[in-house]
């Protein structure tokens, strides 16, 4: 059988093939990715959509943890200061109730307790980045304002709702308690008991003083219990942060295994493709110009 006299189409096809392989290898080395367009690996590209979204979410969850943690810590330290204020009030009340004080002593004590009341109200009005922490979800309203018509002298302007912040796909952490639950709860009214202690001290009624002091120490216990919510939230957020860090690592490694190029492999493929390409071209350069004419003497 007659042999195809023209090697050109074969050589062109070979050159094109090795050029294409060279391009792919070069692109992988240059971008560090083995999947640059969906057709490179349709399944990996499809999975990358979920990976991208989840990675974005985990980043944002991590930021939420940071933001929320600061606000929870601020609230917790405000409550810490309330607890120490109340402890002080209890000892002042106990001192006022022991019956050895004259009227001016009691007035001085009343003034101190009034000062404590003011500082507790300030703590209850703590804000973090412009949001009031103890106003329920009405975080733009000052929770407690002076109100002479109220028994405690203060009125609650917030609501009884709470926010839970999303820090994971299926995890949201309750990050606040409404002030109404902590400071003006009917069963353990912090502000109310402080203000009754002030009036009791002013009036000098020993039994009123001691019952008000009891009410304060009751409220003190109650506030300490409420602090646990914040402590729990803190530890939940901390452990979630650790989880999210792990999640970031595993998502990154998933992304790498889906679309990343193995550098060593890519570099080897590149040098392989280079060698192939030069071999094809060297062979073409050697074979193509050779015809019988090269060997015939030029007719004289």
């Amino acid at each position: 059988m007659r042999v195809n006299p023209s090697m050109v189409p074969d050589i062109l096809a070979d050159m094109q093939q090795s050029q294409a392989a060279l391009n792919v290898a070069l692109q992988q080395v240059a971008t560090g990715k083995s999947v640059n367009v969906p057709s490179d690996n349709p399944a990996a590209s499809a999975n990358m959509v979920a990976n991208t979204i989840e990675t974005g979410q985990v980043d944002q969850y991590t930021q939420n943890v940071t933001t929320t943690l600061s606000s929870v810590q601020t609230a917790d330290s405000a409550l810490g200061s309330v607890v120490s204020s109340l402890t002080q009030a209890v000892s002042l009340g106990t001192e006022g109730a022991n019956g050895t004080n004259n009227s001016s002593d009691l007035q001085a004590l009343a003034q101190q307790v009034q000062g404590i009341l003011t500082s507790v109200v300030a703590d209850a009005n703590t804000s973090y980045q412009g949001s009031y922490l103890f106003a329920g979800t009405a975080s733009t309203t000052v929770p407690y304002t002076a109100d002479s018509s109220s028994a405690s002298g203060y009125t609650y302007n917030g609501n009884n709702d709470t926010n839970s912040v999303a820090v994971g796909d299926h995890l949201s952490v309750q990050v606040s308690l409404p002030g109404s639950q902590i400071f003006s709860n009917s069963s353990a009214d912090v502000l109310g008991s402080l203000s009754s202690l002030v009036s009791a001290l002013q009036s000098g009624n020993t039994s009123d003083i001691s019952s008000a002091t009891n009410a304060i120490s009751n409220a003190l216990n109650y506030v300490s219990q409420q602090r646990v919510t914040y402590g729990n939230a803190e530890s939940q957020l901390n452990s979630q942060e650790t989880y999210l860090q792990q999640e970031t690592v595993s998502l990154t490694s998933q992304a790498t295994s889906l679309t990343g190029a193995d550098e060593a492999q890519a570099a080897t493929a590149l040098s392989q493709a280079e060698t192939d390409n030069s071999a094809v071209m060297a062979a073409a350069a050697k074979v193509l110009p050779d015809t019988l004419l090269s060997y015939l003497a030029i007719p004289s």
């Binding site: 969906p38 590209s45 979204i53 999303a166």
Partner: protein, 459 residues
């Protein structure tokens, strides 16, 4: 009785025949790189012997003509593969473009969906923060825009393919006209017993070109070649050609009509025309309808979540996205309905600091749509589909190219010009010509000697 004159005649015939062979060789060498050229071989035959009494003399040589070496069966196979190849190539290049709309580049739907869902998660932590609200609004606008650009990209690929249909039909018509004309010339030549030669080469090259434009079926008959489209609509019959026409259909796309006015758009296969129609009428509409469904259902779900809550002003949440009524055109038409970030319904109790409804808003992104999948999963299956289509097209193209290379090699091994072979022939014919010339000069010398016999005078 044979004499010197007979030898002279034989020598002269040999010179003529060898000249013919040298012509054929030169022509082969000259056309070594001409597309569609089929090598020609000179046909020599010995003349009948002359029987003059008791003496039998050879009659010399004569040149019968040239024979083109071609394999019609291979040509048919090559035409078929060429149709397939150019159909797949047309689709492949469109799909390369289409898949770029689905490639992660920071502004594709997946990236914008990511940004949108992140912004909602951020809003969960700081629901009353104006910057967080603004970021939801902006990333919502970006998401809508990414739907718009993807849909517009798909539609531009579609209209590009549509333009290709009109162009290709015009090219087909011009080719069939030329083929019909050459067909007539070839049948005249063959009727007179001549080699179709170069005209047949030209016709084969044009038919090959035609097969890259659309799938054809070619049959040989006495009147020349009959060419029809794959579904049997006549394009060329002998020396007559039939033009295809295009007309704008009710879908706004160009439809292809045969010479009788029948709509043959859906039955056209192969070639650039078949590839363009496949992209325009199957691939792009399929993707567009998925994208429209996604845009429409997602917008509806998000608006429903928005309606469950209250905005920063304590009013019931209003629509966040606007989509055209009905699914068609949703991806191209989706936009954000609000421009005031405080209208995002994050609150569940009407107070500005509540984030109770953010969970519902986020859930719209992670809950299955009526189509059965979450927005992200719907989009990723589209990415998978586009990627698979593009990768299949390029794999197919490579496979067919290999096949086609094989076939053209086979064709070339029959019909291609070999410089080495022609050079060898050149030497052969050179020697033969020299020898024939020597016969003539020898006979001349002998004639002189004969005339000189018995004469003192020298001629």
């Amino acid at each position: 009785m044979g004499g010197l004159n007979t030898s002279l005649l034989i020598g002269m015939q040999a010179l003529e025949a060898t000249q013919g062979a040298l012509n054929a060789t030169s022509n082969n060498i000259a056309n070594a790189n001409t597309t569609g050229y089929t090598r020609e071989v000179v046909q020599l035959s010995e003349n009948p012997m002359t029987d003059s009494g008791n003496e039998i003399t050879g009659g010399g040589v004569s040149m019968d003509g040239l024979q083109s070496i071609r394999d019609e069966l291979l040509n048919l196979q090559i035409q078929k593969q060429t149709s397939l190849q150019s159909s797949v190539d047309t689709q492949s290049s469109s799909l390369q473009q289409i898949q770029s709309y689905f490639t992660s580049n920071g502004e594709d739907i997946a990236s914008e969906l990511t940004a949108f869902s992140s912004s909602l998660t951020q809003l969960s932590a700081t629901p009353s923060n104006a910057a967080a609200q603004q970021s939801v609004l902006v990333s919502g606008q970006n998401l809508a825009r990414s739907f718009n650009t993807t849909a517009q990209g798909l539609m531009s690929s579609q209209s590009e393919a549509d333009g290709q249909v009109t162009q290709t039909v015009a090219q087909i018509n011009s080719l069939t006209k030329q083929i019909a004309q050459l067909n007539g010339e070839v049948s005249q030549l063959t009727a007179s017993g001549q080699n179709g030669g170069t005209i047949e080469d030209q016709r084969d090259a044009l038919v090959q070109q035609l097969s890259s434009l659309t799938g054809i079926s070619v049959t040989q008959s006495d009147g020349g070649e009959t060419i029809t489209t794959a579904n049997g609509s006549a394009l060329v019959m002998g020396s007559q050609s039939f033009s295809l026409q295009t007309t704008t259909g009710s879908d706004g796309m160009k439809h292809v009509l045969d010479s009788n006015g029948n709509d043959i758009t859906s039955s056209i296969q192969g070639g650039q025309l078949g590839g363009a129609i496949q992209i325009r009428d199957q691939v792009v509409p399929g993707l567009l309808s998925q994208l429209n469904t996604l845009a429409s259902q997602f917008a509806t779900a998000f608006n429903a979540a928005q309606a469950q809550g209250y905005d920063s002003n304590g009013k019931a949440g209003q629509d966040f996205f606007t989509v055209p009524a009905g699914t068609a055109g949703s991806a191209a038409g989706i936009s954000v309905a609000i421009s005031d970030p405080s209208l995002i319904a994050a609150s569940s109790d009407g107070s500005a600091g509540s984030n109770g409804n953010v969970a519902n808003l986020s859930a719209a992104l992670t809950t299955a749509l009526p189509s059965g999948q979450t927005p992200a999963a719907t989009y990723s299956s589209m990415v998978f589909q586009v990627g698979t289509d593009a990768s299949n097209a390029s794999t197919q193209s490579t496979a067919i190219a290999q096949n086609l290379l094989q076939l053209t090699n086979q064709q070339s091994s029959a019909s291609g010009v070999s410089i080495d072979e022609e050079t060898t022939n050149l030497i052969r014919f050179q020697t033969a010509y020299e020898a024939a010339a020597r016969i003539v000069s020898t006979i001349q010398q002998l004639s002189t000697v004969t005339l000189d016999m018995g004469s003192t005078q020298s001629y």
